[in-house]
Each structure stands twice: as structure tokens, then as C-alpha cells.
Amino acid sequence: MIKDGVLMLCRTGVLSAVALVLSIFEGMLPDLPFVLPGMKLGLSNLAVMLSLELCPLPCALCVAVIKALFALLSRGVTAFVMSLIGGLLATIGMFLLVRAKRLHFGCFGIGVFGAFLHNCGQLAVALVLVSDAVYGYFPILIVSAVITGSVTGLVYYLVMPSLKKLPLMGDNIGNLQNL
């Protein structure tokens, strides 16, 4: 039987890789004409959402940090700080919703809340690093959070059943021994 720690390490690694691939894939998508300035789909948030369901919080935070390091390599220091603060805030916020006992949250709520916190974190960093003029983007960022969050939530909802069949992600990890 595989130890829990090893399983979580594997999941964190795979989900981090998924986050990076989704980031790259998102960068390859053509710009849509109706897209608001500053709006990004945030597909890599999917990997964070999954890691919250499948791993303890530190693993999910790890995925967020690795995502931010990728932003550092591909888009520079400002993007790194924004991705890091936004990502960590979103991860902690979504963690609270995913593990909430009293109230059950749907994919929509978790996706939108995560996108909202991510954008809030980024805006806070921009306020410090750039200028207080960025608060003008706040309403735009909220609208984009609702749109992108509901999309990532929907993708998550649709992908979940297939993911559960994977030995590494589902409950039935006994199969892993035979790989």
C-alpha cells in the first residue's frame, strides 16, 4: 500500500504540472473581442481547486506557489508578486468553501469566489506597486471574476467525474500498485 504522504506528493506534483500546462494553454488562446481589459480565464485555478479537494491545504498552497514561479519565469517580477498574492488568497478562500461543513458550496460558488479573491489580491498588489489609480479596474475585475469563475467552475464540474476514475486522483488507488 502506498503511504498517504507519497500519494499527496504525487498528486501535488501532477496537479502543479497541470497548472503550468493550463497556464501555457491559456496563453495560446486567441484574444476574444469581447474580453475586458485585464481579464484572464484563470484555467490554472482548476488545478488549485482539484488540489483542495484531493490534498491537504499545504499541497494546494504549493501548487499556487509553483504557478506563481511560472509567472515569474514567463512574465516577470510584477506578474510573480501579483500571481503569488492573488493565488495564495484564492487558495485559502476556496479552502474554506471546499471544507465548509455547515453550508454546501457548488462549483459555481467556489470558482467565482476563487476568481474574485485572486483579482482582489492582484489589485491590492497593483495598488502598492503601481499606483492608487488601479482601483478604477475594480468593478471590471469583479465582472470578469464572475464570468471566468463560472467558466472554470463549469469545466471543473464537467471534468470531475472522469478524474475520479484515474487511479491517482480517485479513492481506488489500489490499482496504482499494478502500474
Partner: protein, 138 residues
């Protein structure tokens, strides 16, 4: 023995989404109020900031001939300044969000180039109604 941590079963919409929607909606309204309050359109001043510090303040009413201003932030950007307003015309950054923002003409509007850490916002020189109190309590 369940090895997955969460229950990993989730509907698309659930009851908990309601407070999330309310929170996001109220934040949106708050943002709009922040954006549209204190608007006065005469005597616009363009405040150019680099890395969070005010770099220059240009009173648009005193701009006779439109001109281009090159600002060196973390990247180099070019601002076009005229009596009508101010806009980013070019930037060395990859995503050009600042250029796509377009011309700023009203107080409270802003355009930002995050990679360059350069921002421009329009403020009203005299339009701030701070001279006269809205209400006096006590």
C-alpha cells in the same frame, strides 16, 4: 478507507453559492460607487505615476499643442497628452492593456501599465466638493 481528502462530489449550484453571489455583487456596487463619486470634469489634471510615486502632474487646460511624453518605468511607455485627455499610445510591455484602455477624458478615469509600473489618472483640480461640507452633525 478513503484516501481522497474531500468528498469530491459537488453540484454546480448549491445553497452556499448564494452568499458568494451577494458578496461579489455588493463589492461590485461598492466599486462603482467609488469610481463614480467625486466627479467634476473641469480643470482636469493628469497625474502620471511611476512605481507608485507621482512622476508629473499636467494640467490639461494648459496644454495648447498635443504632445507625446515618454515615461521610463520598468518598461518604456509613450503617453499622448492633449487638452481633450490623455492616453497611452505605445508601450514596450507584452499585453498592451494600457494602450487598449484608450483615451481618458473624465475625472476618476485611469489607465495603468502594470509591467512598466506606470499609471495615469485624471483628477479634478477644483471639482472636489471638499470645500463645502455635505452635512454637519452635532
Amino acid at each position: 478507507m478513503t484516501r481522497a481528502v474531500g468528498n469530491f462530489k459537488r453540484k454546480y449550484f448549491a445553497l452556499g453559492d448564494l452568499p458568494v453571489v451577494l458578496l461579489v455583487l455588493s463589492a461590485f456596487v461598492l466599486g462603482l460607487i467609488m469610481l463614480f463619486s467625486g466627479r467634476g470634469d473641469d480643470n482636469l489634471v493628469a497625474v502620471v505615476s511611476v512605481r507608485g510615486e507621482v512622476y508629473s502632474e499636467i494640467s490639461l487646460a494648459q496644454v495648447a499643442e498635443p504632445y507625446d511624453l515618454t515615461v521610463e518605468g520598468d518598461e518604456s511607455v509613450v503617453l499622448h497628452i492633449s487638452s481633450d485627455g490623455v492616453e497611452f499610445v505605445s508601450s514596450d510591455c507584452p499585453d498592451k492593456l494600457c494602450v487598449n484602455t484608450g483615451l481618458l477624458t473624465r475625472s476618476g478615469q485611469s489607465a495603468v501599465c502594470l509591467p512598466a509600473r506606470v499609471s495615469v489618472k485624471l483628477v479634478s483640480e477644483t471639482g472636489a466638493p471638499s470645500d463645502a461640507p455635505d452635512a454637519v452633525a452635532g
